[in-house]
Every structure is written in C-alpha cells, then in structure tokens.
Symmetry: C2
Subunit: 214 residues, 2 copies
C-alpha cells in the first residue's frame, strides 16, 4: 500500500520515533522516495499534506524541515473535534466580538433562519451544514490566516455532525440551536463574556449528545 | 508560474470568489488540471496542501470536497502567529494543566535549563528553538490530533522568532523567560488559572517586543 495517505502515515511514525527531530532538514526527495519505496510524486503529495498540516515546512532552495511534531494519537474522530472546538472556539469568538464589520454580521445573521428552517423540517444534513457555514464565515473574517487555520482544525466533519444530530432528541436540538443564537447575540453586542459562555455551552451540548460528560 | 504553491493560491482565490461553495465537490483532477493549465502532479500537490490545511477533504471514491473556506488575508507573518498564539494557546494549556503524565512534565522541565543556558550565551536561535520545543512537546501530549493541529497552526516560525529576540532588550528577554517558567509552574501544579495568566503574559510580552500593543 504505497498510497500518499500511507506514505504520510509512515512519515508521521518516523517523526514520532525521532528519526528526524524538530527543525531538522529531511533528506532530499529522491533518496527519501527510494528509502520509502514510493514514487517521487507519491512522496511529494504526502510531504505537502504534512506542510499543510503545519508539521513540515518547505523553504525555497533549502529543502523541507520539521516545523512541529505530529500528535501521538492520530484519531480525528468527532469527539476529538468537539473537545478541541470547546477549548479553541470560545476564546477565538470572544476575541472577535466587537471587531466584526456589519457585512459579516449580516452574513452570520442569515445562517440562523436557514438553520431554524432545516431544524423545523428535520433535515439534519442541512442543519449541520448551516452551523458549519456560520463558523466558517466567522473564521474567514478573522483576517488572520493562522487563527483561521487553528479554528478550522477544530470544525467537526459535516457528515459526522449530521449523524450525531439525527440521533439526538428534539429538546436537545432546540437547546443546541439556542446556544448558536446566543453566540450570535454575544457577537452582535460585542459582549466577549456572553460570547464565550454561549460558545462553550454550544460545544458542551454537542458533547452531551455524544454521551460525553460536559 | 505553474508551481504547486502558485496553483494552491489560485485555488484559494477561486474559493474566495465563490467558484465552489462550502461542502461542494471539486471537478475531477483531469478537467481541473486542464482548466488551470497545470500538470496533474502539480494539481495533486496543491490539493493535498489544502487538505492538510483543513480547507479541502478527500473522500475515498467520491472526490475532493470543500471543508472550510480560506481566510481572506493570507499573510502568515510573525505578528499574526503571535496574536493567534495569544488567543489559542492559553486556554489550550489551561485545559492540559493537571492532565500531563510525569514523563511529559519531565520532558517539559528539561527544556527550561536549556533555554536558560541559550539565553545566557546570547544564542537567540537556540533560545527560540527551546521555546518552540517546549510547546511542541506539550501539543504532542494532548492526545487529540485536532487540538494539536490547532495549536501548531499558531506556533511562530523559529527563524522569525529568533530575529525578534535578537532585537529585544535583555530585560525583555529575562521577563519573557520568566513567563515560560511560570507557565511550566502552572502546569506542574495543575493550576489552570495561573497557566492561562502566564501563557497570556508570555504571548503579550512577545507582541510588546514587536512594538504591538499588548
């Protein structure tokens, strides 16, 4: 199985074993591809995914370096997303409260009735998508690519979120929707504390849907 | 200039223009490569960097989809990193206070004297690297790949950080070092509040070095 995804995993394992340490330069593409027994195209694809993930960085003319080490657990399941979301998104949203231009507030406000209609119609796929559109619109508006990337890393997968919502009670879904409305309210009134509280409750509500302690 | 980096930027621009919306499937590789006038290998490299960045996702057998929209500002300068670090890292570290096994605490504690010696020797490259090793060790220990990725997105570039430290006064550097020691102290004593305060002061101190208001 010499797929790019498999090659990416093998490179991660090598980094975890300490084959290359932080800030070290990786071997050139040709010898590294030979060592791994993959084509240079496959290696390049794997390397670039790791660059995108912030683990490697390429410096023009000097090669590929280790920027951060991968995490020991490589599960990217829904519970991990939601736990990461609950830690990262409330302070991120709180920092944005009061900084959003009217055009962004307007775009955010449009997602709410759409989400409400999807909830009313029982269309959980659309309901999940509306939630994710709300946060994606916010992250786009940070004007800080690093911050946007940190937030995007914690967004749950739309399919997994829709499945979770399908299994949840209507009372829970109404509560969940209310937390989103409260988050928007906090942002609109530049109330950092209310925004933090609402976004935290929002994430905790989802973790409760999963049967996790909140 | 049909490099992978250039192709990545063109795809980002197309996403910002709304050519493809959130959750939409991108065209197949062959027609997309033709449309962009690049080789399939170049396109694939660009697509995988965007997958790593969490903007696109590939689903086996069904194609490449838009997972999150890119941020309008694509600068990834030091100031942006530090601002993102100040928002994301304090709550992240605070959530980890009290959860770290002794082996990780030991690894973290080893970075401190190394940083102290580098500071004393005036080796700002090594000093910066020791700081980044400290945070990288912590992120590895989260056991949550999404959270680790969110944190890693905010880590400053080692070269840029070393340059900033080189230009800073010795008083500022001593202060900066003390905030790192305080962060470690907070983590060791499972004191979430002290950890948050120390990590926030740490990031603010760096932003002050840059001449930014903190």
């Amino acid at each position: 199985m010499n797929t790019p995804a498999n090659t990416e995993r093998r490179l991660e394992q090598a980094l975890l074993r300490g084959k290359w340490t932080l800030f070290e330069r990786l071997p050139a593409e040709r010898p590294l591809a030979e060592e791994l027994g993959v084509s240079r195209a496959t290696l390049r694809t794997a390397l670039h995914t790791l660059v995108g993930r912030g683990i490697l960085e390429t410096r023009r003319g000097s090669g590929t370096f280790v920027r951060a080490l991968p995490c020991r657990a490589d599960s990217t399941g829904l519970a991990d997303s939601l736990r990461a979301f609950r830690i990262v998104m409330p302070p991120l949203l709180s920092a944005m409260a009061g900084t959003l231009p009217p055009s962004v507030m307007l775009a955010l406000e449009r997602h709410l009735p759409s989400a409400g209609m999807a909830l009313h119609a029982g269309d959980m796929r659309l309901f999940a998508q509306n939630h994710l559109r709300f946060f994606s619109t916010l992250l786009q508006a940070t004007g800080n690519a690093r911050l946007a990337q940190a937030g995007a890393a914690t967004l749950p997968d739309a399919h997994a979120l829709a499945r979770l919502l399908q299994e949840s009670s209507h009372v829970r879904l109404e509560e969940f929707f209310k937390h989103l409305a409260r988050t928007l309210h906090g942002l609109r009134h530049a109330d950092a504390q209310a925004t933090t509280a609402a976004a935290t409750a929002y994430a905790s509500c989802l973790l409760q849907c999963m049967g996790e302690e909140a």
